[in-house]
């Protein structure tokens, strides 16, 4: 075993809120060797973030209380250290890459100013002093390290002027400014699109090597762990339940929880993949013909000019009865706008949409239309009104489709049955239900008036990974029982691989590729599809091998670079 830079042993920690004490960490022990990359993995609420904050010393005490244990950094216990001494290590000994590139910047100060403060006060703590020119040189140098070429321009920019990928890079630069020995990365890149995430992970790996860093990675994503760690700790409910090398954890997980985590990750390739076939008779349910949608924004208050954004650009699709049709794309690709046009929430600027053979514009205001197509939203916490009970939520579509009160009552209990919820839930409010249960209510609401088509807008991405599969199973069963057709909008290609029979890949408002799911995944034609597929973090070497190859030149051509100014 190599010499540890960080060595936590027997850490116990509790929170006291509203007079109730809850133990959050139980006897946590964890080591990071010099030059090692260690991942701490667990689901939200498992205690991994608290562990991280205990290390960097930003826990609010109270309500938090460290009840025992040792956190040794380079052989000295951080918890026993004098405050001044501990502060001296902040950013210089131990540094952190914050999770959210949107929220982790001070919005009212320029990037340069924020970075300058970090360098300046580190100097103050260490008793050295550099003049502002030298500090600026350090900052520009560090920006260079994270592969940001326009350092000087970034220096003068406010955070809101940078794109998400750039902000993530600047965040990394901030953490590196004072040459720390241990770097803690909190969910790096998870808030970004997969293609950008891929670049960020690559960068981190390079930096660890170049700068001779030790890395502690905090994440919930097994795919990320595989790309960027040597050793892994698994955390569940404040306990470390397993520790193993990267190889072992993926090939022979021992603890039941780790195994559960593994199986909950959907495969992209290999024999675990489920091929879904539509074996109903061909009968087009949705025809999208040359559809374009433009949004206009006024250029400025005084001028009459408009800036036109083409969100959806000449899209043609045909969706058959019984299809689970996936529309994939990263944020801003236009997939949501397309979905909203299917529901007649936006009308196309150009082109035509036919549902069940009838042009949408003819009957989109009728009850008939509402009975034909409905939607399940991504986040049931937002799509269910917090102030209305399950019954009230389910009543709305029924009432406005002309059901009378006795019909409504019997229909509601039928619906709850359908989505496997006990009848007693009818009088509950959303906050009394778990995420998965809420999503079931949302599905029941969408199904209440017996539609033929459901638009599923990322229906599982707000749910815990272990719940996701049960919701997918439910959707598959309902499709069979109720003879439904699904339009599935998502950025999650692994899920799409296992759930859809056909997919279309959207890129900057256009469909760049569409076809049978299996074909698209095994033999993608478009460079963007290949770049996208190759960016998805997977959890086995076999899958890694089967990903499509994409050259750097191709990648550059199709991807919005995370290093260019907005």
């Amino acid at each position: 075993m190599m010499e540890p830079i960080l060595d936590i042993s027997g850490l116990n920690l509790s929170f006291t809120t509203y007079g109730k004490r809850t133990q959050v960490l139980h006897d946590v022990s964890l080591r990071v060797g010099k030059g090692e990359r260690v991942a701490l993995i667990g689901q939200s609420g498992s205690g991994k973030t608290v562990t991280m904050r205990a290390i960097i010393g930003t826990l609010p005490i109270p309500p938090a209380k460290i009840e025992g244990g040792v956190i040794q950094f380079e052989g000295r216990d951080l918890l026993q250290m004098a405050k001044v001494e501990r502060n001296r290590l902040k950013g210089t000994g131990i540094s952190i890459i914050m999770q959210d590139p949107l929220l982790s910047f001070n919005p009212v100060l320029t990037i340069g100013r924020q970075m300058d403060d970090i360098v300046r006060y580190a100097d103050v703590r260490l008793g050295s002093k550099r003049n502002s020119g030298l500090r600026k040189a350090t900052i520009l140098d560090t920006l260079q390290k994270v592969r940001l070429p326009d350092g000087a321009q970034i220096y003068d920019a406010y955070p809101m002027m940078l794109s998400g990928g750039m902000r993530q890079r600047v965040l990394i630069a901030m953490a590196l400014l004072n040459k720390p020995r241990l770097l803690i990365a909190d969910e790096p890149g998870t808030a970004l699109d997969v293609t950008t995430q891929k670049e960020i992970l690559k960068l981190l790996n390079q930096l660890v090597k170049e700068e001779n860093l030790s890395l502690l990675l905090i994440t919930h994503n097994l795919g990320v762990v595989r790309e960027i760690s040597d050793r892994v700790y698994v955390m569940e409910n404040g306990h470390i339940v397993e520790e193993a090398t990267r190889k072992d954890i993926f090939e022979q997980p021992r603890h039941a929880y780790t195994k559960k985590l593994m199986t909950s990750v959907l495969p992209l390739y290999g024999k675990r993949v489920r091929n879904f076939e539509n074996n109903r008779q061909s009968d087009p349910k949705i025809e999208i013909q040359g559809v374009t949608k433009e949004f206009r924004g006024k250029v400025s208050f005084f001028s009459k000019k408009y800036r036109v954004v083409r969100a959806v650009d000449n899209v043609n699709l045909q969706i058959e009865n019984g299809d689970i049709f996936g529309i994939a794309g990263e944020s801003g690709s236009g997939k949501t706008t397309l979905a909203k046009m299917l529901l007649a929430l936006h009308s196309p600027t150009d082109g035509q949409i036919k549902i069940d053979g009838r042009p949408l514009s003819n009957f989109s205001n009728s009850r008939e239309f509402r009975r034909l197509i409905q939607i399940v939203y991504q986040n049931p916490g937002s799509s269910l009104n917090p102030k209305r009970t399950v019954t009230q939520a389910l009543t709305v579509p029924l009432k406005f489709c002309g059901y009378d009160s006795t019909q409504i009552k019997s229909r509601i209990s039928e619906l709850l049955d359908m989505v496997d919820l006990p009848k007693s839930y009818a009088s509950m409010y959303p906050h009394e239900l778990s995420g998965g249960q809420k999503q079931r209510v949302a599905i029941a609401r969408a199904l209440s008036v017996n539609p033929k088509i459901l638009v599923l807008d990322e229906p599982t991405s707000a749910l815990d990974v272990l719940i996701q599969n049960t919701v997918i199973e439910l959707l598959l069963r309902l499709r069979e029982e109720l003879n439904l057709t699904y339009v599935f909008i998502s950025h999650d290609l692994s899920l799409m691989r296992n759930f859809c029979n056909r997919v279309a890949i959207m890129f900057r408002g256009q469909i760049c590729e569409q076809g049978e799911t299996r074909e698209i995944f095994t033999d993608p034609q478009h460079a963007y599809t290949r770049a996208l597929l190759s960016s998805i973090p997977v959890i086995s070497e076999q899958e890694e091998q089967q990903k499509p190859k994409v050259t750097d030149a191709e990648r550059q051509a199709v991807l919005a670079s995370s290093t260019a100014l907005k």
């Binding site: 509203y18 608290v50 009230q392």
Partner: protein, 293 residues
């Protein structure tokens, strides 16, 4: 962000009702506020029974006891014509509370509906309603109320009208802000997809999400309406004498400063007491329901 999610994970062990109760219990100020509000309401309702000298409420004169300092007999002392100030104070609460009911009874529904309309429909509707609200907000409320009552001739009803004309704006702003934020929630669109009418979405979906903010606001408002009414009558534009009104009493009493200080101070403190009650209650409700007003 991190802090919040940590707290959420510990709070999961409590039901929301337990939490609300915990917050209320931890907040004795809210209990005091509720007690004050109840006591003021009771005093006002049962004024004829509870007051030590009901005749003092009218144009009763007792020169033998004029300018009596506070004592066991006259708790708050007597005024320039020998009337019991305590009696007049609790009768004064009747005027204050009816002003509150009258003003808020009209201003709140009006303000709330305008706020809902502006927030829900947006666009031109929003522009017209919110710009009009902006204009109203630029008017010094007291000056406007003074001007209106002066022109309409001073009386309780006219004071009520004047205050109502200005009061709705704050509710419109509040509801507009909440509704605007709620509009980005998917449940609004979900209701549209379900075929719900505009009225349904505004009153059944959006309004329930405004209720806690409205109730906090009403509680805080009640105090300020009392203050406002008292200020109007303090300047001589409220209820006609000899009807006992708190503001008028302060105004009359202040002519006898500093010797007979209680004649201005006692009614003044009585106003303060009522406002304090409504404020503490409103604050308590705010903490309990965790809303921004």
């Amino acid at each position: 962000m991190i802090e919040l999610s940590e707290q959420a994970s510990t709070e999961r062990f409590m039901t929301s009702r337990q939490m609300a109760w915990f917050r209320f219990r931890r907040n004795p100020a809210a209990l005091i506020g509720a007690t004050i509000v109840i006591s003021v309401t009771m005093l006002a309702i049962f004024a004829p029974i509870l007051s030590p000298s009901p005749q003092s409420a009218g144009s009763f004169v007792d020169f033998a006891h004029r300018h009596h300092p506070p004592s066991a007999e006259f708790w708050f002392g007597t005024d320039n014509v020998g009337r019991d100030i305590f009696t007049r104070v609790i009768f004064g609460y009747r005027i204050s509370l009816s002003l509150v009911v009258g003003v808020l009874g009209f201003a709140v529904p009006f303000g709330v509906i305008l706020g809902l309309l502006a927030g829900y429909f947006g666009g031109r509707t929003e522009f017209i309603i919110m710009r009009f609200t902006d204009v109203m907000l630029a008017i010094p409320p007291l000056a406007m109320a003074l001007a209106i009552t002066a022109v309409l001739s001073p009386s309780l009803v006219n004071a009520m009208i004047a205050i109502t004309m200005l009061w709705w704006t704050w509710h419109t702003r509040l509801i507009f802000r909440i509704v605007k934020a709620q509009m980005s929630e998917d449940y609004v669109e979900a209701a549209k997809v379900a075929g719900a009418s505009h009225a349904h979405i505004m009153f059944k979906e959006l309004l329930p999400n405004c209720i806690s903010a409205i109730s906090v606001k009403i509680s805080l408002d009640a105090g300020f309406v009392i203050l406002f009414g008292a200020a109007l009558s303090f300047l001589g534009l409220g209820v006609h004498p000899p009807t006992p009104d708190l503001g008028t009493m302060v105004s009359t009493g202040s002519e006898y400063l500093p010797e007979f200080w209680w004649e201005a101070l006692m009614p003044g403190l009585a106003i303060l007491y009522a406002i304090l009650g409504f404020n503490l209650l409103g604050d308590g409700l705010r903490d309990m329901m965790d809303v921004e007003v």
